[in-house]
Symmetry: C2
Subunit: 148 residues, 2 copies
């Protein structure tokens, strides 16, 4: 996601309005690395702006996705997660506790062609599903659900 300032410019340029709700949501997303769901954000922001409605949050998230400022992805837990970081990187997703963290930079895959099979590539999304260190420790104590 670009800076909040450039979002302000973008909205003004298209005749939109910079409201307190949008600013709050933009600021919350800026630099967020927790891959939150809409509900996560709502419970986080509601106390800061009690009037905030879920509908507004969805509106704002959807427009960010349409603008290509935010990426959505399915972590396999039945919830949609949002990530303001659209740079090439992968997520590590735990199949047991659904923890999501960014993969270290050295995992980032090498540059891909701007065009593949005739598709003009705009965005990429990559997830590795597995068992996080914490859950591995738990499994070692009990029965292993995903033996090596």
């Amino acid at each position: 996601m670009q800076s909040v300032e450039s979002l302000v410019r973008r909205v003004r340029a298209q005749g939109g309005k910079v409201t307190a709700q949008r600013m709050l949501i933009w600021r919350a997303l800026e630099g967020d690395q927790t891959h939150p769901t809409a509900e996560d954000l709502y419970t986080r922001l509601k106390p800061l702006l009690p009037g905030l409605s879920l509908a507004t949050l969805y509106n704002t998230l959807n427009e960010l996705v349409e603008w290509g400022e935010v990426r959505r992805f399915d972590a396999g837990d039945g919830h949609i997660h949002y990530d303001p970081d659209c740079s090439p990187h992968a997520e590590l997703v735990c199949l047991q506790c659904h923890t999501i963290v960014d993969a270290p930079a050295h995992i980032a895959r090498p540059a891909i062609p701007a065009e593949i099979a005739g598709f003009r590539i705009v965005l990429r999304s990559e997830q590795f599903f597995g068992i996080c260190p914490t859950c591995q420790a738990k499994s070692d104590a009990g029965s292993a659900a995903y033996p090596a």
Copy 2:
């Protein structure tokens, strides 16, 4: 996804039953490269087994996902897609018409470590979002929604 025969063995081994519904769904998925949604499969299979209910289809798909036989992913169109091919490969997703095709084999990324940041990797999922050749042709005729 493994062969239908090995699924039969698996179900029997856990005391389950090989029903006409499961067989039908397994056979439909075997070798399927269309990345269908639950609805897609339902409209495709309903005529072949008129009694089939959506609930049963969801049950069967969910158990396949839990068994690691089928992968689910969000194509960004608001629908969950299923893919029986769990081998390393990427999907190309058109942002305009939501067409999904498998990326050619030479795009497949090189082997990754079995362990990243302490996570034991079990599954991987990769999508490239962009504009398909057909939609590019349409855009050329009109205004470009995603200019190069």
